[in-house]
Symmetry: C2
Subunit: 238 residues, 2 copies
């Protein structure tokens, strides 16, 4: 069994939520069949990859590096406009563009997340630690009834993960040292950054994050590996 | 009916919680009858007043002024030591002193708070906006099952209410303008500061805040006056 963590911080988008299914469904509804040739699955997958690149969180990014903070709502908006232009897609009005971007701010949790957090909540302080803006984190937690005790957003730190300030300020705000906190994510860059700073870490693969069967990231060796949040609760004795 | 607020921010200690009863009960348990002459009721009341003075939130404070941020846990600790010394009380060991201070970080809500917030939650984003440290806000919300969507602490802003930065940064983090947010408190200084910045405000008197029958603060004229959180829900149409 892993050493007991007083608090567990969870990456939100991807780790707790199935943004792919949520955003594809919202996009199809907003589009209303106006672009029959547009396959929203690959489009949303590419949109997410563009967001990750903008935040420096792809495989080519330098370890521990992150760009200066700016609103993630704006990052998704710019990435959307670039993708649409690149593919010669037009005909979306302002309401539709806003709706598409806001779809990223309210996502359904994976089925294991709520029951897993409910089990972990009795013994640990549970927090979200997300690069998304405060309203996105709050709306997603509220819509999904995610039983977090605290919500931390990059907006509060004016810095993105994997900037060490995000992790270390979170620890200071919790009045805990990094070894007393576990960071849980499905993204290797996030787990690696927390591990380097002395946090406990767990990796939860989400093979359907970028679409059904798209595949999970390789598990970092340093992290506890859990199949899902229920398995994590099992392994932590909750 | 008041104009609809997208979000409602609540002062925590005193407005949502009955710190007097909670801290007096904890203090009596920690003391274990070792100081039979010490009447914990007036002591806790004086302790709270010393804390309010340290934060500049008493009647003599300059409008809108607040001291530089520091941990409220430390403020309560220093005020406790000063009060004990002043009264010639000794014999408390370190564990007892720590326990007394931590009693301020987990307080029972007033009976109207959970049912009132539950009604308001469907139509509004609900947040705590407290001068207490992050762990105090999180532990109080968790222990009392307070259904807040976001928790904002002075520690996140490195500034105490009534510093305008606290209110204005909260609004920015919520992506809302002050007129779209209502601040609810039982303390006139808090309501007045939010009103000056353009927020909607509501005043909820808590006549037992400093002990049964100690009396509420006078209601500010600018604020919506609600008897309790259920009355607030009634007045806001929830």
């Amino acid at each position: 069994m892993a050493p007991t963590a007083r608090a567990i911080l969870f990456d939100l988008q991807g780790t707790c939520t199935d943004f792919f299914t949520s955003v594809v469904a919202a996009a199809r509804a907003i589009d209303g069949g106006e672009h029959p040739d547009l396959d929203w699955g690959p489009f949303v997958s590419d949109w997410r990859k563009a967001y990750m690149r903008a935040l420096g969180n792809d495989a080519t990014a330098k370890a521990g590096a992150a760009p200066a903070w700016r609103s993630v709502r704006e990052v998704y908006r710019q990435a959307l406009e670039a993708l649409l232009a690149e593919r010669g897609l037009d005909g979306f009005d302002e309401d539709q563009l806003v709706g598409l971007v806001l779809a990223w701010e309210e996502q359904e949790p994976w089925p294991d997340v709520v029951p897993g957090l409910a089990r972990l909540r009795a013994r640990h302080t549970l927090g979200a630690l997300s690069n998304a803006d405060v309203p996105a984190v709050a709306r997603t937690a509220k819509a999904g009834a995610l039983p977090f005790d605290v919500l931390f957003s990059a907006q509060m730190f004016q810095a993105f993960k994997p900037d060490p300030a995000v992790y270390l300020t979170s620890a200071r705000w919790l009045s805990l040292d990094p070894p007393d906190i576990m960071l849980v994510a499905c993204h290797a860059y996030d787990v690696a950054a927390a591990h380097r700073l002395g946090f406990q870490t767990a990796f939860v693969p989400r093979p359907d994050e970028l679409g059904p069967g798209a595949g999970a990231e390789p598990a970092p060796e340093s992290a506890l590996l859990a199949r899902d949040f229920l398995d994590l609760a099992d392994q932590l004795g909750s």
